[in-house]
């Protein structure tokens, strides 16, 4: 499963893994803005940024092939629009869409696969995102695996009862069956949320979460952000001036 692999990758020990999540978020935003606002010499800029991302993947000791393939998840959506642009007589824009969206996705992937998601959310909280929302996201991520598994079981059970039979005749019945399955899944999820809340209260939950550890933003982190963001800007100016 995608998120399980990502979770394992994110618990590595490279220098990139050790950077403060805020440093990585800031650099990611810098990268995305430099890439997203560019209009000229995109081939050169894309090649340079791709090289930087490859260096990042390599230094984080992530498996290159699988990582590059995972970022390709954006391509189906992008390909549709690239195709439309191409048909509309603007192949350059189509190519730009593919390049920009793929590199952006790869950059996000690099950050997420070097930072455990809870730490990333913690970092976002420290940069001002609402804590309540991030806690909701944290619980979502925690129970994503669990509820998905339940849905998986229900799908198997439905298949075992012959729900995969195709054809118009059974459509309405299958539609109702699927709605019933979702209703059961909803009710179970609701009950689970109540259980979780009871477990929280039992251990003295006072209505807010106290974090166990706060990431430390050190000098290495400031150097990391400053160096990378300035490099990215210089690279872009250089390419646009020279090329």
């Amino acid at each position: 499963m995608h998120h399980v692999t990502l979770d394992q990758w994110s618990r590595g020990g490279s220098a990139l893994h050790r950077r403060d999540p805020r440093a990585k978020i800031a650099t990611l935003i810098g990268f995305l803005v430099v890439l997203g606002t560019a209009h000229r010499d995109l081939a050169w800029l894309g090649a340079a940024l791709f090289a930087i991302l490859l260096a990042g993947l390599w230094s984080a000791r992530l498996p290159l092939g699988p990582a590059l393939a995972r970022a390709g998840a954006v391509l189906p959506f992008t390909a549709v629009f690239a195709g439309i642009s191409w048909l509309a007589g603007d192949p350059a824009r189509g190519a730009a869409l593919v390049m920009k969206s793929y590199l952006s996705a790869l950059a996000v992937l690099l950050v997420v696969s070097t930072t455990p998601l809870p730490l990333l959310l913690r970092g976002m909280e420290m940069t001002g995102a609402p804590r309540f929302l991030l806690m909701v996201a944290q619980f979502l991520y925690r129970y994503l695996f669990v509820i998905s598994e339940e849905a998986q079981h229900m799908r198997k059970a439905a298949a075992a009862r012959g729900a995969t039979v195709q054809g118009m005749a059974g459509n309405s019945a299958r539609f109702k069956a699927a709605a019933g399955a979702l209703a059961v899944l909803f009710a179970r999820s609701y009950a689970r949320a109540e259980d979780i809340h009871r477990a929280m209260l039992s251990r003295g939950f006072p209505g807010y979460f106290r974090p166990l550890s706060a990431p430390q933003f050190g000098r290495a982190d400031s150097l990391f952000v400053t160096f990378l963001v300035i490099s990215l800007i210089v690279i872009r100016i250089f390419i646009e001036k020279v090329a």
Binding site: I29, Y141, Y190
Partner: protein, 296 residues
């Protein structure tokens, strides 16, 4: 319809991020106020439910299938503010973990699906959710929710200059309408099934029907419809607007002065102008959102 990074032009994503930020702050505050501390696990698990619900296929026609998107269902079950928060969390996890939707484009996706989509999805239920027309209201909510999100996304893409030839536009609009109707049907079917197994589970629309809410939801829907019309009549609309109002030229001198040497190369790309227009729009929208947030 999760917009990846690289699709939206700078002013569009900047304005959408600026619009989404205070809106999210507002729904978070409202969601937190309405409930007790049980909300964090409840909303988190509900988010996981919506994720997992995508695995359950609903047959639509021969051989094709759809799945629940969930904005309207959550709005009926948890109330609009909590539903917005859940959808925000879903979109954030999708963007980060699944590379589904961009980071700079997160504001746009949040605004389309978690804010406007949820508001539009709740509006019919808010207005007619008590009487006999409740089922119809839930159906309309699901439909309207998806339609609003999709139209907004389409408008943003077109304003960003993504080409949409007439026939393609027609086909995508038709596809949107079909999937919106499917969402409506799924929402109403799930609610019906849920009421059979757990009577009384549905939240009645809140007693004090605030006209401000209805107005906001209507604005979201009109924005979606108007956006597509505007975008299709005026390609490169934002850029031209920025030029006409003179914001761009002001910004140009402002930004370019300290960087005289680079002026030619910077201005050739036109991105400072775009960025400035974006920032100006950002300020306006931010102020408007704050005022709306304050009032209630």
């Amino acid at each position: 319809m999760h917009i990846p990074d690289g699709f939206l032009s700078t002013p569009v994503w900047a304005v959408m991020d600026a619009a989404a930020a205070p809106a999210v702050g507002y729904v978070v505050r409202k969601a937190q106020r309405g409930f007790d501390d049980a909300k964090v696990p409840l909303l988190g698990v509900m988010g996981a439910f919506v994720f997992a619900a995508q695995m359950i296929n609903f047959p639509v026609g021969v051989g094709t299938s759809g799945h629940l998107v969930g904005g309207a269902l959550l709005a009926c079950m948890l109330g609009p503010a909590a539903a917005s928060v859940v959808m925000c969390a879903i979109l954030a996890i999708q963007a980060l973990v699944f590379q589904d939707g961009g980071i700079l484009a997160l504001g746009a996706n949040v605004f389309n699906m978690a804010i406007a989509g949820v508001l539009a999805g709740y509006l019919p239920y808010h207005l007619w959710g008590r009487g006999r027309g409740r089922r119809a209201a839930i159906f309309a909510g699901g439909t309207l929710s998806l339609l609003t999100s999709a139209m907004l996304a389409l408008a943003e893409l077109m304003i960003s200059g993504v080409r949409m030839p007439g026939p393609v536009l027609g086909v995508s609009l038709a596809l949107f309408v079909v999937s919106a109707l499917v969402e409506g049907a799924i929402t109403v079917a799930v609610v019906a099934a849920l009421e059979r197994i757990q009577p009384g589970v549905l939240r009645a629309p809140s007693a004090g029907r605030s006209p401000a809410f209805a107005a906001l939801a209507l604005v979201a829907i009109l924005l979606a419809a108007g956006g597509v019309v505007f975008a299709s009549t005026a390609p490169d609309g934002i850029e031209r607007l920025a030029m006409q109002t003179g914001i761009a030229s002001h910004a140009r001198t402002l930004i370019a002065t300290p960087l005289k040497d680079y002026q030619a190369s910077w201005l050739g790309s036109g991105w400072p102008a775009q960025a400035a227009a974006g920032i100006a729009g950002l300020g306006l929208v931010y102020g408007a959102c704050l005022m709306i947030g304050r009032k209630r």
